[in-house]
Amino acid sequence: MIDLVHFQILSISLFCIGVYGFMARKSAIMVLLSIELMLNAVNINLIGFAAFSDFAESTRALGQVLVIFVITIAAGELALAIAIILRLYRNTKSINIDELDSLKG
């Protein structure tokens, strides 16, 4: 039957995929998509604990409340980051993050 361990293994795998994409891709939009993957991995973990742990019901409701907050902040962060990337593309004609090093000094 479905267990807490299934949720945790799925969450860990998705998080490591997101970490790989975050470090290995060149395009800024791909980095953003990898961050979304990692946030989803965290959500899966929280839902698993909210459903399959033996805490009190108010504590388990806290898990779902946290998922709501994570989704909210992720949506706001994504809109802002897309705006920054569009701005970056307009100014530098590039979204390759290896070339965006003018603040390096």
């Binding site: 479905i2 807490l4 361990v5 299934h6 799925l10 860990i12 795998s13 998705l14 490591c16 997101g18 970490v19 790989y20 994409g21 470090m23 290995a24 891709r25 060149k26 395009s27 939009i29 791909m30 998509l33 990898s34 993957l37 989803n40 959500n43 899966i44 839902i47 698993g48 909210a50 459903a51 399959f52 742990s53 033996d54 019901e57 108010s58 388990r60 409701a61 806290l62 898990g63 409340v65 998922v67 907050f69 989704i71 909210t72 902040i73 949506a75 706001g76 994504l78 809109a79 897309i82 705006a83 920054i84 990337i85 569009l86 593309y89 307009r90 590039s94 979204i95 390759n96 290896d98």
Partner: protein, 167 residues
């Protein structure tokens, strides 16, 4: 019998999630990555259903499937896509593979060494969730709405500024 059916369905949505995630990070064309993200999000909504949280599954479908992927596809349409359609991985991708595999190993060791034991799953209930959200967590809820407002205004200002400087 019902138990084995449910675990088969859980494996199906897990394959959707993992396959979508791998598609996001491995696809060469960035549009394919965006649609792989959609597949992963729909799979995540299915996983939420197995966690007895129907409301959050619906929210996941609406926000990620409906809004986030649309925003990303619009961003791809507004930039000239030929410039970065075939951006490859950068030179440090073997290092990235090593780090993520090491992180996977560490997390799995920590998982199987942890004393947390699972119980029979049970849902929280939408009534209880709403009561918790609007009593104990009312102030963070309001702050979250304020954060969304600030993000909205910031997005508009960031995108519009260029037209005002040189109309």
């Amino acid at each position: 019998m019902i138990i084995s059916t449910s675990i088969i369905l859980f494996y199906v949505v897990s394959i959707l999630v993992i396959g979508g995630g791998l598609g996001v990070v491995l696809a060469r064309n960035i549009v394919y990555s965006a649609f792989s993200l959609l597949v992963a999000m729909i799979g995540t909504a299915g996983v939420f259903l197995f966690g007895f949280s129907e409301f959050l599954a619906l929210v996941q479908l609406l926000i990620y499937g409906g809004a986030v992927v649309i925003v990303i596809v619009f961003a791809l349409m507004l930039t000239k896509i030929e410039d970065f359609r075939n951006l490859n991985d950068n030179d440090q991708w073997p290092l990235a593979v090593m780090i993520s595999v090491a992180l996977l190993a560490v997390l799995l060791i920590a998982l199987f060494g942890s004393p947390i034991e699972s119980t029979l799953g049970s849902g929280v209930g939408l009534r209880h969730l709403g009561k918790t959200l609007f009593t104990d967590w009312a102030i963070p809820f309001e702050i979250a709405s304020f954060v969304l407002l600030v993000a909205l205004i910031g997005t508009i200002i960031l995108v519009r500024e260029d037209e005002e400087e040189n109309p």
